[in-house]
């Protein structure tokens, strides 16, 4: 049984991507997607995207990978198709599934153009010839075939597709919130084996994030009850300042400082519009 799982092929072939990438757009998408936030060890003074950020999960400790252009220890040797498979499907060039600590399920709908842009941007990252520390996952979580079962059970399409009848701003918010900015990764609770309980606890908060912090509920009812408005939420994504004059703590500080503050006012506003609206079922 396990033998079959080990060789069970996963993922889909990626059709050749020949589009020219735009470095600026790729950089913007990388910011929005949190690549830089999670793959840069700010605490330890690490170089941009050299990885090594420790994530203490209930299953063991993971370290973010080196995503610099180093051909051996980074991703400099990857083809754009290998890159696409990693980002959209969570599968390494060797065909191994990544742990879902890497938020690839949110990136599944990135277009070929998005991928080409990201790829072009990553090409510009200075190579850092340092290996990220090895993961400390005990048995059985160090068995990657287990992730194949996990994928089969839990991998779902992200909610990024436009809903007809909604205005472009709302749909842009949906694209960002459900995709690149992957809000649900922290703000939706997870089950015992780390899958999001999206069906009935979407955005209900997570009391036990990796590392011991908590993420509050951000469903629209809660946001409204806590006096958020589209305006104040968009501003908080830029500055970290909340309506009561307090500021974000926890990892949300990092989200703002390394991510959302770099977005355009229009995109932050679109996220806020979507988050503050009843988007259940859409």
């Amino acid at each position: 049984m396990i033998g079959a799982l080990v060789v069970w092929p996963i993922g889909q072939d990626v059709a050749p991507i020949t589009l020219a990438g735009d470095v600026k757009k790729g950089g913007y998408l990388a910011r929005a997607s949190g690549c830089i936030a999670c793959h840069t060890n700010f605490e330890g003074g690490g170089k941009p995207l050299a990885g090594g950020v420790k994530l203490d999960t209930p299953f063991g400790a993971l370290y973010s990978a080196n995503l610099t252009s180093d051909p051996e220890l980074g991703i400099g040797g990857w083809t754009v198709e290998e890159f696409a498979k990693a980002v959209r499907q969570g599968i390494s060039p060797e065909g191994e599934p990544y742990y879902p600590a890497f938020t690839y399920p949110f990136y599944a709908n990135f277009s070929d153009q998005d991928i080409a842009d990201l790829y072009a941007a990553f090409q510009t990252v200075k190579a850092v010839p340092e290996a990220a520390p090895a993961n400390e996952m005990p048995f059985p979580f160090n068995q990657r075939w287990g992730l194949k079962v996990w994928r089969a059970a839990f991998l779902k399409q992200p909610a990024t597709d436009p809903i007809s009848g909604q205005d472009p701003e709302w749909n842009r918010g949906r694209e960002l919130v459900g995709g690149a900015t992957h809000c649900a990764a922290c703000h939706t609770p997870r089950n015992l084996i780390g899958a999001r309980k999206s069906a009935d606890e979407h955005f209900a908060g997570n009391p036990s994030l990796p590392g011991g912090s908590k993420a509050p509920a951000i469903d629209y009812n809660t946001l409204r009850k806590r006096d958020w408005t589209v305006d104040s939420l968009a501003y908080a994504l830029k500055t970290g300042i909340m309506p009561d004059g307090d500021t974000f703590g926890g990892s949300m500080n990092e989200v703002v400082q390394q991510g959302t503050r770099f977005l355009t006012n229009e995109d932050r506003r679109a996220m806020a519009v979507y988050l503050m609206d009843d988007h259940s079922g859409g």
């Binding site: 470095v23 600026k24 790729g26 950089g27 913007y28 990388a30 910011r31 830089i36 840069t40 700010f42 941009p48 995207l49 941007a121 990553f122 510009t124 990252v125 200075k126 009935d200 606890e201 209900a204 912090s213 908590k214 993420a215 509050p216 509920a217 469903d219 009812n221 809660t222 009850k225 501003y235 830029k238 500055t239 970290g240 300042i241 909340m242 309506p243 009561d244 004059g245 307090d246 500021t247 974000f248 703590g249 926890g250 990892s251 949300m252 500080n253 990092e254 703002v256 400082q257 390394q258 503050r261 770099f262 977005l263 355009t264 006012n265």
Partner: protein
């Protein structure tokens, strides 16, 4: 339906616990909580001014800055003697495990609040409401720059970059305010247990 009712009641319970915790604080813990609240009020008062939502008033900015100057730096540090963590305090043990860093951020907050006071006379950035991205090294400048460092994570205003008084003297006040707020948030990330 049951779940829809359950979630808010859990939240209410949580808010209740938080309120009790705050009320239960006495002595030095209460004193520092009051200081934090005063600074929060100052930030709240400053926000509409910095966003250009109300008419700019340099004196209001200066007096809010004074509140922060008063409660930051040595004053704040002195209110965190060892052994005053744990309930009802929201301070994490990290405060005392990383005392040097905690002190550094407290002092930075004071320096930045002083800077904001200096910058009060400069007013807001041109068209602050429209272009306020620029205040923290915004999208077009920092992130989408032409060099590799700027595009993909380098060149951002790192925690180690200390802003000097001379820089504040010519800085739009909303840029200075952003530095103050960033200091609050950075400290809360590392040293405060409370969720938000």
């Amino acid at each position: 339906m049951a779940k829809k009712i359950l979630i808010p009641s859990v939240l209410i319970a949580f808010i209740g616990v938080a309120a009790m915790a705050h009320n239960g604080a006495t002595g030095i813990v209460k004193e520092r909580m009051d200081g934090m609240s005063a600074m929060g009020k100052a930030v709240k008062a400053l926000t509409p001014i910095m966003r250009g939502a109300v008419e700019y008033d340099a004196d209001k900015v200066r007096s809010a800055a004074d509140v922060m100057i008063k409660h930051a730096g040595e004053q704040m540090i002195s209110l965190f003697p060892e052994g005053t963590g744990g309930m009802p305090s929201s301070a994490l043990p990290a405060v005392w495990d990383n005392w040097e860093e905690f002190s550094k951020i407290s002092n930075e907050l004071k320096a930045y609040a002083e800077g904001m006071k200096i910058a009060a006379g400069n007013g807001l950035a041109e068209d602050a409401v429209e272009q306020d991205d620029a205040m923290m090294g915004g999208s077009n400048d920092t992130m989408m720059g032409e060099t590799s460092e700027d595009t993909m994570g380098g060149g951002t205003m790192g925690a180690e970059t200390m802003i000097t008084a001379e820089m504040f003297a010519t800085m739009p006040v909303d840029t200075a305010f952003a530095s103050v707020a960033q200091t609050c948030s950075a400290c809360h990330q590392k040293f405060r247990a409370k969720e938000n």
